[in-house]
Amino acid sequence: MKIKQKKGVIFSLDAFMAVGIFLIAAVSIYVFVLSSGNLKQQYYISNDILNIMQDIKVYELSATKYPELAIVLINNGSVSSKYLGSAFMTTDKAGIFFNAIFKILLSDKYEFGLNIDNKEISITNKNFVVARRARFTEG
């Protein structure tokens, strides 16, 4: 009788271990699938930034809302009539300017950087790049 009871305990333990392993696997899969996101938001943000750089001119930005403009326009007044993308290429204050317009708008959500013609305008941590958009332009 005692031998039978011991073997019964071992088989039952197997069954309970199987349930435990299944629960761990099921919860892990569930959490992983539901928490993994996609890159749609990053796609739209980057697309909109590129469009804004091509469509908006520097002078259209309010100097009151962007005091950094004064720094950009010092000794570089011709930048005022340029589109933002061209302005970033021609001024050495592009990083300050870009951060003032875009980074502060999304700082609580995303880190991103701008690179024009292999020149880093705004630096980001390259080790965690999840998306990259590129566009040909002239300026």
Binding site: A15, A18, A26, D48, I101
Partner: protein, 165 residues
């Protein structure tokens, strides 16, 4: 000679029950994941479509009347060349008919709202007839999509929300 059973019936029954329970539970977990994913996909598709509509310049008069009945004409859009057009925004606000705008956007199952958020985090509802954050916070499910656009001298976030009550 005593016969010895190959199995202990009690353990066999327990093991069989455990397998059945695990199989049923596994099926429901997979089914639930599939359901959750499809609802999220549905929300994503609709919020993208809505955001693309709002970010377009639209066309048509938006409303048309025939025999005293209001019908829609064209497509609602608020943005031209990355800028929220003030005239189009005023026209949208003057529609003052949430259900009508929902029909124009092709939203049947979902409700929507939109906010303009500036760099200081100040949020302004796009039109007075849209749901505010309190209504959205009580929704069963909601998804948000941010778009960037020029408005009133600065670059702002157009925060578009799609939710299900």
């Amino acid at each position: 000679m005593s016969k010895r059973g190959q199995i202990w019936y009690g353990d066999f029954i327990i093991g069989l029950l455990v397998i059945i329970i695990i199989s049923v539970a596994f099926y429901y977990v997979l089914y639930d994941i599939g359901n959750a994913n499809s609802e999220i996909s549905e929300l994503e598709l609709n919020v993208e479509s809505l955001s693309n509509n709002l970010m377009s310049d639209g066309y048509g008069s938006w409303t048309t009347w025939s025999s005293g009945n209001k019908d829609y004409d064209g497509k609602i859009g608020l943005v031209k060349n990355s800028k929220i057009d003030v005239n189009l925004l005023t026209k949208f606000r003057n529609l003052n008919d949430y259900a009508f705008t929902k029909r124009m956007f092709g939203l049947s199952e979902y409700d929507y709202s939109a906010f303009i958020i500036d760099k200081n985090g100040v949020s302004t509802i796009l039109a007075p007839f849209l749901a505010d954050e309190t209504a959205i916070s009580n929704a069963a499910s909601a998804i948000r999509l941010d778009r960037l656009v020029y408005y009133n001298g600065e670059i702002v976030r157009l925060n578009i929300v799609l939710f299900k009550k």
